[in-house]
């Protein structure tokens, strides 16, 4: 039983319901080093903890024992920054749909479970350390064309001078909710980034503001995507299932149409 006095109220953390887990965690010292799965036993895990809070507890124990804690990316811990990753029991962001790892709670597991925790695995995302990977390829794809070339003077049209049909605006919004976490790439047997790229291309293709550059945009972004070593889409659909924002593969189809139209235009 542990207690925390929090503004005059004592919270009791009843650990009778605490779970005992076996964790098999990918450990890799740096990009060049050879990695391996390492086993840890963790007791008294509360079902109310988030998955990352469970990792915090593991790390606390490792540090106290003088060992190197497990490195993993995380920041907002509310499912929006896209920084957390982790392949949990063979699924990006774990067993639940529509959530990131930081939103996954331990109540989704049971006492005695063995949990396998690995980094995103893809040629486009080299491992930095342990569970942390380098996703800067996504930034470079965005830099190749994921924008509207408007200068930042604020001297543009009045916002309401560009009406957008609500249905288009809603679709553009759905595409724009991509958090750039890379679960799509990690889940794809081809290591394809087409859901990520398709979502960005779609956002702008659906809005009048994006039209003047639509063909250059799709060509440049796809070119960069290929140069980064991401694979092609073969309509498997794992990306859509594993996407924490449930972004539809319709966006890949739209990107393909945009790409074809750009090619036909020459």
């Amino acid at each position: 039983m542990t207690t925390l006095k929090y503004n005059h109220v004592v919270i009791n953390n009843n650990m009778e319901n605490g779970m005992n887990l076996t964790l098999k965690v990918w450990r890799q010292a740096n990009a060049e080093a050879q990695g391996q799965m390492t086993e840890y036993k963790l007791g008294n895990v509360s079902p109310d903890m988030s998955f990352l809070e469970m990792m915090d507890v593991l790390n606390d124990e490792l540090i106290r024992k003088g060992e190197d804690p497990v490195t993993f990316d995380h920041d907002c811990r509310e499912g929006i920054c896209g920084m957390c990753s982790m392949f949990i029991n063979g699924e990006a962001h774990g067993p639940n749909r529509g959530v990131t790892t930081c939103q996954l709670h331990m109540r989704s597991f049971k006492d005695g479970d063995t949990i396998y925790i690995e980094p995103w695995r893809s040629a486009g995302f080299p491992v930095v350390k342990d569970l942390m990977v380098d996703r800067s390829a996504f930034d470079r794809i965005q830099q190749a064309g994921g924008f509207v070339s408007v200068n930042t003077s604020g001297r543009t049209l009045d916002a309401n001078a560009i009406p957008v049909p609500k249905a288009d605006a809603d679709k553009a919004f759905d595409a724009a909710t991509c958090i750039g976490c890379g679960a799509c790439v990690a889940s794809c047997p081809n290591g394809s980034a087409m859901l990520f790229v398709g979502a960005k291309v779609s956002q702008f293709a659906l809005l009048p503001q994006g039209h003047p550059e639509r063909f250059d945009r799709v060509e440049n972004m796809v070119k960069q995507m290929d140069e980064e070593g991401f694979g092609n889409c073969s309509n498997i659909g794992a990306c859509e299932v594993q996407c924490p924002k449930s972004i539809s593969i319709e966006n890949i189809a739209r990107m393909n149409r945009e790409y074809m139209a750009a090619n036909l235009k020459g």
């Binding site: 109220v9 740096n30 509310e78 994006g210």
Partner: protein, 666 residues
């Protein structure tokens, strides 16, 4: 130190125009030879870096995350204010200005706030042009909603992901400039010092978080857009990495820290569930448009609910206390955040809290389900709809508006908020205090600027909802790009600044020594232990309610934590490589110093205003009692070398256009 705020003369609504007409310019050929460093890539940083690069300056931008797109602005939910008056409900630049000054409890500068209101409309134009998918109505035009502390609807939004959409807009503008080679982007880099040469900021020392390399970067100006310091409380709605280090290191080099005790405790957050908790999650203030806040009217009901013997949905209307509607009939559930938070604390302290910890109140959508459902039935001509059909239609409308927030709640609490009211409690969210800046957003170090939440300038003692996004983008897109030229005009013949200067060597040496001392203390305790301890002291004694006795106790406790920390903290791993524990340790060291300063600032301010509530200074109804004749100033603290002995400088606040009165939302 004499504080010169550089506010231009003339009538309030002419000041910014006049400034822009007279500020010095740097011609395009010279801009190419001028380097600017922007630290942080949230709304303020990404917009500033993109704008400066577009103007022709050579920009280097840093962020500690793996991509600039992940800065914590991304988590802002509810919306962004702008005085567009698209709703034709009486809004204007003046009203936005007035609401902001009043909302800030008369502790912000008139000229800065007026400028903010003036440029607000441009932000919306800019973002729409960039392809930010704001919410629209069926006519294809932009929709607005209402937020706390105002009686108009001026908040533009993109479901509950407004911050994400605005940040991705700014990130796309930044990406465009990176692609053109105008911005050098350094991901996974953390600034650890400002290098000051002959009184001017000339660069920074940064650590490459992947390799551990300590790097020197020179520039003609340094812009800090590093956000707020809410993580000093350990539990807050900030991201895990949000920190005060860049701002604090600038403070140690001569930048004054203003009003550090002005912190915002946001009323609608998911309550604390246990001691494993690493952060708290906000539920957007926009929910208060449609949710009604209540606790049981009778203690026996509250006790039965806490013991899980009674369900909230079974409690009769006349046994509920909608305390905000009762206390503040004019604004009801939409009172400003500080008022709403204190009222929740008051009810819970009095024994009416509704979860196991006694620290939660209800946010209930039942009446909105019914209201929207009836509206839908009318629209669809379903005159014989049953009650259940009406509620189901109403739930659909609410889902359209706040679906992602309801989902987020359910994931964390494992309760369905469509079936039972949400439980909420206040949590640390934003810091109004920050680096002192003048009208040009320059700190007291020449050539070192602070934008967005990192500065103190626009929100006084309490920020209104949907105004943080507005200020971040205003500073980055529309203010700094004008004001920085006024300084850089003197730098056109400076030429490239060498990183071999002795000041760079000394600053780098300083950083190295700090890192080594953290490794070489033979400690055994992880960093988080100290951070939690510090956060709890500050929450208990410098949180929603403060007192002289409590603050004095907190200061002595923080001093003990500091000693304990440097003696006993353990940093595992290596210096020259990825080491998140080392990053955390350096941030916590700075939080400890800042925490002490916050308590000192709160202790010195013998009044209550906005988020700063001193128990000794309240009206008979328990409202904040300001003491204008003594405390109508900005408290700007100067670092002396000893974190326990700062010097207080005061900038008097002058109100020429607004009559200072006591704030009433009744």
């Amino acid at each position: 130190m004499e504080l010169i705020n550089k506010i231009p003369d003339g009538p309030l609504d002419q000041k910014w125009t006049k400034y822009k007409n007279t500020a010095r310019l740097v011609n395009p050929a010279n801009k190419r030879n001028i380097d600017v460093i922007v630290v942080g890539t949230g709304l303020a940083g990404a917009s500033a870096a993109a704008s400066l690069a577009e103007m022709g300056y050579k920009v280097k931008a840093l962020c500690f995350q793996d991509s600039p797109r992940r800065a914590h602005s991304i988590a802002a939910q509810g919306g962004i204010n702008a005085a567009k008056n698209y709703m034709n409900d009486g809004d204007s630049t003046y009203r936005l200005f007035y609401d902001t000054i009043k909302g800030g409890d008369y502790r912000a500068r008139e000229a800065n706030v007026y400028r903010l209101a003036e440029v607000s409309a441009n932000i919306i134009d800019q973002c729409v042009a960039q392809g930010v998918p704001f919410a629209r109505d069926y006519g294809g035009l932009l929709d607005n909603r209402s937020f706390g502390g105002t009686q108009v609807s001026r908040t533009f939004y993109a479901k509950g992901q407004t911050g994400q959409q605005l940040l991705l807009g700014a990130y796309s503008a930044l990406s465009r400039q990176v692609g053109k080679g105008n911005v050098t982007m350094l991901n996974r880099h953390e600034m650890l010092d400002v290098v000051v040469i002959d009184g001017k900021a000339r660069g920074i020392i940064a650590r490459n978080l992947v390799t551990g390399a300590i790097e020197r970067h020179s520039a003609h100006a340094v812009v800090l857009c590093t956000g707020g310091y809410g993580n000093v409380f350990f539990l807050s709605t900030n991201a895990m990495g949000s920190n005060v280090t860049a701002a604090w290191r600038a403070h140690k080099r001569g930048a004054l820290m203003a009003n550090p005790c002005f912190t915002q405790i946001h009323p609608t957050c998911i309550p604390v569930s246990g001691d494993h908790q690493s952060k708290l999650t906000l539920m957007s203030e926009s929910l208060r448009n449609d949710g009604r806040i209540w606790v049981p009217k009778f203690k026996e009901d509250a006790e039965a609910i806490r013991a899980k013997k009674l369900k909230p949905t079974d409690l009769a209307e006349d046994r509920r206390d909608y305390y905000l509607e009762r206390r503040y009939p004019a604004f009801g559930n939409l009172v400003p955040r500080d008022v709403a938070s204190r009222a929740a604390k008051e009810r819970c302290d009095a024994g009416f809290g509704v979860n196991a910890t006694g620290e939660a109140v209800y946010l209930d959508f039942a009446s909105s389900f019914e209201r929207y459902g009836k509206q839908q039935a009318t629209v669809k001509g379903l005159h014989n709809a049953t009650h259940d059909e009406i509620i189901a239609m109403g739930k659909k409308v609410v889902e359209q508006k706040y679906g992602n927030l309801f989902q987020m709640y359910e994931q964390i609490v494992a309760e369905n908020p469509y079936e039972t009211p949400m439980m909420i409690y206040p949590a640390v969210h934003y810091t109004m205090g920050g680096l002192w800046v003048d009208y040009e957003l320059m700190t007291t170090i020449k050539g070192c600027y602070a934008c967005g939440e990192a500065n103190f300038s626009d929100h006084g003692a309490n920020r209104l909802g949907a105004s943080a996004l507005m200020q971040g983008l205003a500073d980055g897109y529309f203010v700094l790009p004008y004001t920085i030229g006024n300084y850089l005009a003197d730098e056109i013949s400076t030429g490239k600044i060498s990183t071999d200067a002795p000041e760079f060597v000394a600053a780098e040496d300083n950083v190295r020594k700090q890192i080594e001392s953290l490794f070489n203390n033979n400690g055994t305790v992880p960093v988080d232990h100290f951070h939690r301890k510090l956060g709890k002291i500050i929450w208990d004694y410098c949180g929603m309610a403060r007192s002289e006795e409590g603050l004095k106790f907190a200061i002595s406790e923080i001093q003990k934590i500091r000693e304990d920390f440097f003696k006993n903290v353990r940093i595992p791993g290596v210096q020259n490589g990825m080491n998140p524990e080392l990053e955390k340790a350096m941030r916590v060291a700075d939080f400890i110093d800042l925490g002490e300063l916050m308590c000192k600032d709160a202790l010195e301010r013998n009044e209550s205003c906005g988020g700063h509530f001193r128990e000794e200074y309240q009206t008979e109804e328990g409202e904040a009692l300001r003491v204008d004749d003594v405390y109508n100033y900005v408290a700007a603290w100067e670092f002396t070398g000893n974190p326990s002995a700062p010097i207080l400088n005061k900038e008097p606040l002058v109100y020429d256009n607004i009559k200072v009165q006591s704030r009433s939302y009744k």
